[in-house]
Symmetry: C2
Subunit: 604 residues, 2 copies
């Protein structure tokens, strides 16, 4: 218990839930790290994709970045509306389920859950890759480092929303401050660089070729920037009151910072003629070009590495919330909707940690192949949620519904087009896994739901009539010998019923005779039944005997009392209780039989 | 059930045990395959070790082989005496424990158990290595093949002693017949070869150098031939009556065949001037030299490959027997002494299979490093068992005790000297693992034993007085809602006691009110207790309430009834019963409380 309290802190009372909510400042740190982390690699991804068509295509970097920032604006405004329309939390799952039906909702939910798992996997392994490239000696421990990082973020989140927010906010704000400084200083430096004449010539020569597919793929790569933008909408309930207003403000700030940083980096990368290199990131080259390799460079590099890892933290904030909502609707195991000691959905946090570790172990920490998967899931959720909002406005038709519907309609169309572009250009790069994982998850949620419905139906008091009392109660005590644990069980059995019988399965007649003699002395008058077992099975003859009793008293109940040893050390379990466990397992499937363990706590 | 019966056959009655015993012919096959397999590589091992001192030392091959055959004779005669003195099975464990004390017995037992595990590991991986060198395409599946072979031998042994004996006897007798034919044909061919003059010159030139250490190491390598010679003594009880006589006869035959084949191969290897090669075994070269590469060659090669793998079978016959004896003495978990469906000690067979797979997985099937470990364990057991016999004769002093004592005394001295030679020359080659594994196992057996003694002491009826009846019986039924499973539990509770209370832990007041209303209608007059839980713990308030009741009725007993769902599909378990399981776990550690599961079998 004290280790647990050391790691995650003392339990919090339920009524403290509102005090554990996030301010806008903390909320921005918690929910934006995923989106902002893409600033660190977004421009580079675009440039690498463009380079496949030759260096001449690089001048498309800025136009693509501008398009993406436009996209950020459209999606952010759409979600802004969503949050106000669903002040109790309006993630893609809820919006799509409310307005489009159960299956679109489940698809959106499944897409987001898969996305969150992959975000953790990819960001953790990317962050660890950055560490191991700086310290090559650690390369062989990459998987262990990844698992350790996941464990650390898991524990941080189990400590509660507010505490993890406080831990995250420092690197996030250092990153935002550092990059802002970089862009401002870069712009001042750029003004004094003369534009190279040669560049323009190359551009005009290449423009006629226009390899549309490559440009679209570069755009699709850059769309990774939009992942995480929906995070706030799933976490509205994590904000202090008024939740919707605070969440919407946070979303606005996040979109602004994301857009400004993306635009600034893309502009400067082109302005300083930076090319992607195998062993140095574009951001690192840019920082070095502007500040030189001094202390500022190291601060920005370190903050970048941290934010890459902390992108996982946003998933740890959102996955448990979304899964708790889906569990409350009985589409996921209900344990996911329980709040833990620190008022967070601990089961969801632990499950996310375990699930995200699986691809790391399978792919050995090399998770590049998973990166394209992100965007498909995210844009599926975007499209469904925006389409749901269009339906929402049309159904309500309140004040200014046409304007609202237009905004979300634009969002729907734009995100759907982007989804098609990504699916088209990236399908071979592994997006097919999402085509398997998301439908698989939807099917699973469906099965879980119908199981819970079946059980509710079976348990319903409408279908069954009131229970009547049992006509007879037989108590059976299987013996392994005559000792204190058995006498304890007999004493308990006599408290239950007058019809108590001791049962011994005979494997060796001479031992049975010894036992019979001992029983006459210690058996407290309870009759002893000997059952013969030619095939040495303990449970078989016992089950047969139980069936005999049931034929005698069809409306009765039988209780089988099994003495259970509770040892002090875990490995002592191996030395005891195996037969009792086996009998218990068999009894579970017998109607009209109840098994009871009378525990004997061993002292040594 | 039918898969199990297909694999291992239908259960056998206990009284059939004597019909399942082995004849001498089958017994020789079962218990000699380990010892005989060393014929396949023993001479080669000696030659390779000698080659380290130059080819000139090779003429020591035959003298070393003769010494080893002498050793076989001494050890066999010693064990012959042991079997007659202990007609109920006289393995090293029993003899050492009876005559030298518990610890020497445990050391001998542990040494043999470790030896059996390593025998399986090494023989299986050597056999698979032979297969993969014939079919290199299989190399990357070596581990899978090893595990499959272990599984196959495991299942074969689970089918019963007699059936596995029948399966083993064919390759064993083909091997014995083939090698006998080889030696006879070889001798006839050898007579017509003139002795090369050059050989003698080299010998006299080298003899002065006399690198004693190399010769001793070659001798130690050759001593692998003796492993498995103790197998019969551990398996006396597997023979038909008269057990001791049949076992001793089998041992005699085994020693004779082993000695004759070893001597024959060593003599011919030297006679035909065969040198060890990297890619062909000495036995293969010799067979080719005598019979050419014809059908007889292939039969002998195939039988040799089979006997290398079947060496593992002897361990599967002995390990479960030895561990069942040690388990009956409470030095190992008692489950090891249960006979399975086919009257063999199934748990021991399965455990041996699992344990022997571990080094294969760890070392990736490359188990050469483990070979020297064999001999240390085996000779430790030899020495202890012979020393035990010396003590035995001295204590009894019956007819001819001096002669018997002398034979076993000679055995003790010889095996102890060999043990020292092996330890000295092979220590760095991995024998230190035995120095860790055997003491570790002895410590474990000691801990298991003292735990069983402690429990027996606690359970003893001498220390405690007779149990009196309980003064009061309270039945508690924790509710999660009002449904059929709960009503079933209430009905059962009312059969146990008049003091039945339903308990509900309140997490949300509005839900508690709804429940209260429903309870008034369906609760069968049982009072409902509401417990508040500010920290959302279900078990905490329940445990507090139980303690309150215990203060009120100190001599009473409390039964907690938990409705348990028995779903149709295994994965449905994840969706239910978690809280019940948690409560059960906590109740295990509470005195005077019994937990009972009333199962509700779900139909869908």
């Amino acid at each position: 218990m004290s280790i647990k309290e050391f790691l995650i802190g003392t339990p919090l009372e339920t009524i403290k839930e509102k005090q554990e909510r996030l301010t806008k400042t903390l909320g921005l740190a918690v929910f934006s790290s995923d989106a902002l982390s893409s600033v660190a690699y977004g421009t580079e991804e675009i440039m690498i994709a463009l380079l496949a068509g030759g260096a001449v295509l690089l001048h498309f970097t800025l136009p693509i970045a501008i398009t993406i920032v436009g996209l950020v604006a459209i999606v952010a405004i759409s979600y802004f509306q969503t949050i106000h329309a669903y002040p109790n939390g309006g993630g893609a799952y809820i919006v799509a389920k409310d307005n489009l039906g159960v299956y679109p909702g489940l698809i959106a939910g499944a897409a987001l859950l898969v996305d969150y798992v992959l975000t953790v996997t990819v960001s953790i392994s990317a962050g660890v890759a950055a560490v191991t490239s700086a310290f090559p000696a650690l390369t062989e421990h990459a998987i262990a480092l990844c698992l350790f990082a996941i464990l650390a973020i898991m524990i941080m989140n189990l400590r509660g929303v507010k505490e993890s927010g406080k831990l995250v906010s420092f690197p996030v704000y250092v990153f935002i401050g550092g990059l802002s400084l970089l862009i401002v200083a870069g712009l001042f430096k750029w003004i004094r660089i003369p534009a190279p004449a040669i560049h323009k010539q190359v551009v005009s020569a290449a423009a006629s070729a226009l390899p549309l597919f490559i440009i679209l793929r570069a755009f699709a790569s850059g769309c990774a920037t939009l992942t995480g933008i929906e995070a706030v909408s799933n976490g509205v309930k994590a904000f202090k009151e008024p939740e919707a207003k605070n969440a919407a403000m946070t979303l606005g700030w996040m979109a602004f910072i994301l857009g400004a940083l993306t635009l600034g980096i893309a502009f400067l990368a082109q302005g300083f003629h930076i090319l992607p290199k195998a062993n140095e990131t574009v951001l690192s080259q840019l920082t070095r070009a502007i500040f030189g390799t001094g202390p500022i460079y190291y601060v920005i590099q370190f903050a970048t590495a941290l934010i890459l890892i902390l992108a996982a933290n946003t998933s740890f904030a959102d996955f448990p919330r979304l899964s708790s909502i889906m569990a409350a609707d009985r589409y996921l195991p209900r344990q996911l909707s329980n709040r833990g000691d620190r008022l967070v959905f601990s089961n969801g946090i632990v499950i996310l940690g375990l699930l995200s570790a699986v691809p790391i172990i399978i792919f050995g920490g090399n998770t590049d192949a998973l990166i394209p998967l992100y965007a498909v899931g995210v844009f599926t959720a975007f499209t469904l949620s925006q389409a749901g909002m269009v339906r929402h406005w049309y159904r309500l038709r309140g004040d200014g519904w046409i304007k609202s519907m237009f905004i979300n309609g634009l969002g729907t169309v734009v995100t759907f087009v982007v989804l098609l572009i990504i699916a088209m250009t990236k399908f071979m790069h592994g997006a097919w896994i999402v085509v398997v994982a998301i439908p698989g998850l939807v099917m699973l949620t469906h099965k879980i739901h119908s199981h819970y419905l079946d059980v509710a139906d079976e348990l319903s008091l409408q279908t069954g009539n009131k229970e009547v009392e049992y006509s007879h109660h037989t108590v059976l005590i299987p013996l392994s010998g005559v000792h204190r644990a058995v006498l304890k069980a007999v004493k308990y059995g006599k408290a239950l019923s007058d019809d108590v019988k001791a049962v011994y399965v005979v494997l060796d007649m001479s031992e049975a005779k010894k036992l019979q003699e001992k029983w006459t002395e210690y058996g407290m008058g309870v009759p002893l039944i000997l059952l013969h077992s030619p095939y040495r099975s303990i449970s078989g003859p016992l089950m047969d005997y139980i069936e005999n009793i049931q034929t005698e008293y069809p409306a009765g109940v039988i209780t089988v009392i099994l003495p259970e040893f509770v040892p002090l050390k875990w490995w002592h379990h191996i030395l005891h209780n195996q037969t009792a466990l086996l009998i218990k397992g068999k009894l579970l499937f017998k109607k009209g039989v109840v098994s009871t363990s009378v525990p004997l706590r061993l002292q040594k």
